[in-house]
């Protein structure tokens, strides 16, 4: 009897210590997120009844799943952090379960006006040394800042009058004023670059509409053009300002708005009328369906190929020269 009891006790202890779990379907693990997904359908019958039975079942299920997950985690490469006595730390892999991002991926900053110009001209940055030899002080000084190489500008006691300058002008005041102007201009350009980058980043509407008083020059021109054309005769008889150029005829609509003069080319008119009669009388349809379909298919294939090629070449091309938007020619004369 004692043997049987001892055997039963040992079995009980063994069960308590066992770490193996039996599952129908293997779990899916994402150790980077400490995640385990169990696809086995849970025992619905047991979970229906409310109360402690359900809790016990849920807890058993959770225990099994956690055991499997911890077993996996313990299988990761681990080391002792902070020397021999430190805690055991496991290296987690990258999370595999893709979760949506919080914000859009950042766009690269658009180049500033100087950067565009430099790229166009091929000007490259030169690495400057941080210290400059100051002849007067006979030591290495900073290029700019506290105790700079050129001497303290506030202590400059001599200001030469340049040739052709007004002898009564205060040179010190002039120098101070010019410095102030330079600083203001730099700050203005910096903010303009920032605003341009911000605008490019948010990708606002193609033609942003600002309230009157805060419109830019282009916007005013565009708005004036639209206002001119929104008359019954599409702006043909609107009075113009004294120096405004006349409307070029090419801007007056597309193909359907172009009208030939009444008594022009008689031969051309005759040929056109005969062609029209011929097309009306012929049995063959003017539009060849098969040719049109083939043309369309070829065009689509060419577009797809171009898009693929553009994607590949876009990655390879660096320092692509940006086109300067032509200001005057295309948009004016509205």
């Amino acid at each position: 009897v004692e043997e049987v009891l001892a055997a039963a006790e040992e079995q009980e202890a063994e069960k308590r210590r066992s770490i193996t779990v039996e599952k129908e379907l293997e779990l899916e693990f994402d150790l980077g997120n400490l995640l385990a997904l169990d696809r086995n359908p849970p025992a619905a019958a047991g979970l229906r009844g409310a109360g402690p039975q359900r809790e016990a079942l849920l807890r058993a299920l959770a225990r099994d799943n956690t055991q499997l997950l911890v077993a996996r985690l313990w299988g990761l490469p681990a080391e002792r952090a902070g020397g021999a006595g430190g805690p055991l730390v496991a290296q987690l892999p990258e999370p595999t379960f893709t979760l949506p991002r919080e914000k859009r991926p950042p766009r690269p900053r658009p180049p500033t006006r100087w950067e565009q110009f430099a790229r166009l001209k091929g000007i490259r940055k030169r690495k400057k040394t941080s210290l400059v030899w100051d002849e007067q002080a006979k030591e290495w000084r900073r290029r700019w800042g506290y105790r700079r190489a050129g001497g303290d500008p506030a202590r400059a006691w001599l200001a030469e009058v340049p040739e052709g300058a007004d002898p009564n002008e205060d040179q010190f005041a002039r120098l101070r004023r010019e410095k102030r102007e330079r600083v203001a201009r730099n700050e203005f350009n910096r903010l303009r670059n920032l605003a341009r980058a911000h605008r490019a980043g948010t990708a606002g509407p193609a033609a942003p509409l600002h309230p009157t008083g805060h419109q830019s020059r282009e916007e005013l021109g565009h708005v004036a053009r639209v206002a001119r054309v929104s008359t019954a005769s599409l702006g043909r008889f609107q009075p113009r300002l004294p120096k405004e150029p006349a409307e070029p005829p090419s801007r007056s609509g597309g193909r359907k708005r172009r009208f030939e003069p009444l008594l022009g080319n008689l031969a051309a008119e005759r040929s056109r009328q005969l062609e029209l009669l011929r097309d009306m009388g012929s049995k063959k349809p003017v539009l060849d369906i098969t040719r049109a379909v083939n043309k369309q298919l070829r065009q689509e294939e060419a577009e797809a190929a171009a898009a693929k090629g553009k994607k590949q070449s876009k990655r390879g091309k660096r320092g692509r020269r940006q086109q300067r938007v032509g200001r005057s020619s295309k948009k004016s004369g509205g």
Partner: protein, 306 residues
């Protein structure tokens, strides 16, 4: 409005750091959650929000006042809150006769609502009611999802993704094995979702891997899914897109076999095969007589020309 158009220029370093933390980055910050009470939130719902806040600290904000909004009708106020507090996850609690103990769990993309799922709380056991010891604040919980519904049903799949996003915590490169204390277990069965949190006790076992014993702790919820507002497929795909810079760089000239063998490729320059250093075979060595014959063959030509 021009005030929103204008770029806010930070005047202090602190303001600059604040703005930099909020701008889009390659590797993003941990998502923050905002816990909002609706106009008619009752005690149960408030307790749920407080408990989830305790689990999600410090990556959560609990709004103390009631906000009279309806997430499913009008999302502008949610988006405004998200922009103000830079939170991309939210949990909105409300209660009315038609939808008792209502929780709307959702996430944002680019400060616009991406997904929203409405869940009803049928049974709730709070942190205070369970008298066991709790996990310290800020532990990364282990997440386990049981039930085939989470794979089969599209709405349940989105819910799973939302819950992982919500409870994930910061992404860490390594973790202390003894510190794996908290596990959140979600079971989907018969249209209900049971969420239970347990404290993990590591017991000795025969081998290196410890035996797990679980102790009930923390909030436990019985949820039922009500309405959903899921993002369209292309918006969801857009939000999943990772920037290319994050992709691990592919090492060139290394290829792997099906069997796990790694192959490498070496590119050599052109070799002059006549000058190759081969094994010396003594028998094939040129005897002096042969060498003289070769030279002799060359010289008569020379003498002729001379």
């Amino acid at each position: 409005m021009e005030a929103l158009d204008r770029v806010v220029k930070p005047k202090t370093k602190r303001a600059k750091r604040f703005l930099e933390k909020r701008e889009p980055k390659l590797k993003e910050n941990t998502k923050n959650a905002m816990l909002i009470k609706g106009g008619n939130a009752n005690i149960t719902v408030t307790e749920v929000l407080k408990d989830i806040y305790a689990v999600k600290k410090p990556f959560a904000v609990l709004y103390r006042k009631k906000n009279i909004t309806r997430p499913f009708e009008d999302q502008t106020s949610l988006e405004f809150f998200s922009k103000k507090s830079d939170c991309s996850l939210f949990l909105f609690g409300s209660h009315n006769k038609k939808r008792p103990n209502n929780l709307v769990i959702g996430r944002m993309f680019d400060y616009h609502v991406l997904d929203m799922i409405e869940l009803g709380v049928e049974k709730f056991v709070s942190l205070k009611d369970v008298k066991n010891s709790k996990c310290p604040e800020g532990t990364k919980p282990m997440l386990i999802f049981a039930g085939d519904m989470f794979e089969v049903n599209e709405e349940y799949r989105r819910l799973k993704s939302l819950l992982i996003d919500f409870f994930r915590g910061p992404t860490v490169p390594s973790i202390r094995l003894a510190g794996l204390e908290c596990v959140l277990h979600f079971t989907a069965v018969e249209g209900k979702i049971y969420m239970r949190s347990y404290k993990v006790l590591l017991k000795k076992s025969g081998c290196k891997i410890p035996r797990i014993e679980l102790e009930e702790m923390g909030p436990s919820l019985d949820l039922v899914m009500r309405r959903t507002h899921l993002a369209s497929d292309d918006l969801y795909k857009l939000s999943l897109k990772q920037p290319k810079a994050l992709k691990p760089k592919k090492k060139k000239n290394i290829s792997h076999d099906v069997f796990g063998t790694t192959y490498g490729r070496i590119h050599m320059q052109k070799q002059d095969l006549s000058k190759l250093q081969t094994r010396k075979m003594k028998g094939l060595k040129k005897r002096p007589a042969e060498k003289a014959a070769e030279d002799g063959g060359v010289s008569p030509k020379k003498s002729k020309s001379a």
